[in-house]
Symmetry: C2
DNA sequence: CTGTATCCTACGAGATACTG
DNA sequence: CAGTATCTCGTAGGATACAG
């Protein structure tokens, strides 16, 4: 009961199955920041202006489910939770780097060639 | 009136501004298929099982706006429209390749390490 | 501090029917 | 063939309040 409702099953396109991982408003941004090191919930939230606790939590749970991020809970008061990339998440970084490079170029285009 | 309503403006994360380009259910898949060559509307639709004309059209218009795809209209009856990647779109391919590689590995994980 | 639990709204995207 | 025009629905994601 995890991807039964996900109708994209195209054998012709290898990226279709992982489309959900890269979608989502904050996914990539979260991964980006986590690539710089382990972070606590609050830290992460402060990095993402405009995200609400509820939204951030939901996104993190998703990324956890996708095995992208690891959640380390410290049993203490006040609570402390640290997020970090998993092996799979780390293997994803080349994608992020490529995207980052492209984004930089793209921005140049946007400010020159576009209206 | 194009990104005024797009509140992510984080200077700290370079990929935030292009997040919209990679989101969307079909964007990446479309780019993937267009990377294999110029395609007509109908061809593209047949490649994407489950997509409706309305949805595909909308996505293509978006990708056009993002300067990712080029739309070539042949003034004739019946109409013929060909879609292809722009320069920006082609520069994006490394990202797609990286994602593709990762996706392949990821699939392996999903079928072995996951329940 | 790090969450849940609701409520609410905007938007993506499918279904369907119609046009040049 | 390649679109538009509506309608509808599900869901992502914001606001807010409360909890351990």
């Amino acid at each position: 009961m995890k991807n039964e409702n996900y109708e994209i099953d195209i054998t012709q396109c290898p990226i279709a199955p992982v489309q959900k991982v890269i979608s989502g408003k904050w996914n990539m941004v979260i991964i980006y920041f986590l690539s710089q090191g382990v972070m606590r919930f609050g830290e992460l939230q402060r990095k993402l202006p405009g995200v609400t606790q509820a939204a951030l939590t939901k996104q993190l749970r998703l990324l956890e489910e996708y095995k992208m991020v690891h959640r380390e809970i410290y049993k203490q008061v006040p609570p402390k939770v640290e997020y970090s990339l998993t092996e799979t998440g780390i293997k994803f970084l080349p994608v992020l780097t490529a995207l980052e490079e492209w984004a930089t170029e793209y921005q140049v285009l946007e400010s020159s060639a576009l209206s």
